[in-house]
Symmetry: C2
Subunit: 179 residues, 2 copies
DNA sequence: TACGTGTTGTTGACGAAGCAACCATACTGC
DNA sequence: GCAGTATGGTTGCTTCGTCAACAACACGTA
């Protein structure tokens, strides 16, 4: 964190500094697609559904309020409503009105849901291990976690301070043809 | 790449080794959402549309075959068809049948599309810089690029060798309650 | 030339997710 | 106790993307 230049070089559309960003996007797209495919093929559960099941399973008493679930699985309220609808349809989750707040609803994991989650976990953990952890060695994983955490935190809700930016001056010069 | 242990420790659902993976997911979700919001708000273009416009602009003669475009923007063939439909509707792109292959169609960037892209680039490059490059320092960026590239490559199409995996034995033990 | 096979892109049907509007319930001050 | 406001979830509508089926065309071979 010792960038002393007042203004960094402008960032253009084919700047080499964009390479890590594009690699990041590509890695995410490919890995999450793989994981999703594996989960669907082997356990008839999508990635999002798996994530929800896991989140419910980790909550106290294996039940969780809809709103909280929405936060944790990075979905909108309505998104969660529908996701839970599907899981209820499959008998993996049950809906239960909250005792302390009659407005609230809770998603409760059923035995069937737990069994499905256990089975799917094997696939999913294997997938993460195979497509992600096995590729980056230990020291890099450490860097990765640190940087990703910082990035996530910075782009999180309720943080809109631009701070010092690489592109205080921008030259979005685009190619005029030719490769 | 000097892991000499025959079998690594099993990976469980709340294993600390999952932290970087979760951070990765969270970072991607938040940053790409931010970028998309900024593009829409300031230029009425989605992230996917921007990506397509840029890809077309970088192609020779600012025109590109649909199939190739699909590969580069990580979308299905039909997805690209519809994306281009929208861009054509907005006058940012034109469709043109391929001279050398009458089956093929090409997407061609219009002047309007180029102008829009130029404008949107400012926003987008600022966003990447602000939400991504500004957060990770130079040495970490290097690690990031290297690891992300490796991960993307490994999970890419036509690569299904599991190799040595962190979880050759898995213990998907799940919490039985309590946080 | 004509036929079968493989590409290339579009279309129809569908699923998943978001936003905004909406109900039901909780809280707050009077 | 009772308005008025805030909060938690669901629903209608729209958007966006995928898969499967299809049409149009290219190419190899007889």
């Amino acid at each position: 964190m010792t960038v002393s230049e007042p203004i960094a070089r402008p960032l253009t559309a084919k700047d080499p500094r964009l390479a890590p960003w594009r690699a990041f996007l590509l890695a995410h797209a490919r890995v999450s697609r793989r994981l999703d495919e594996e989960l669907r093929a082997e356990h008839d559960v999508s990635f999002a559904e798996y994530d929800a099941l896991l989140t419910i399973a980790q909550a106290p008493d294996r039940r969780i309020r809809m709103g909280l679930l929405a936060e944790q699985v990075l979905l909108s309220k309505s998104g969660v409503t529908r996701l839970i609808d599907r899981l209820v349809g499959d008998g993996l989750v049950e809906r239960s009105t909250c005792l302390s707040d009659a407005r609230g609803a809770e998603a409760v994991l059923t035995e069937r849901g737990l069994a499905r989650l256990r089975a799917a976990s094997r696939t999913h953990l294997r997938g993460i291990s195979e497509h992600f952890l096995a590729i980056v060695d230990a020291t890099d994983v450490e860097v990765l976690e640190r940087t990703m955490t910082a990035v996530a935190r910075r782009a999180g809700p309720g943080d809109s301070d631009p701070g010092i930016c690489v592109t205080d001056v921008i030259d979005p010069q685009l190619p005029t043809g030719g490769r």
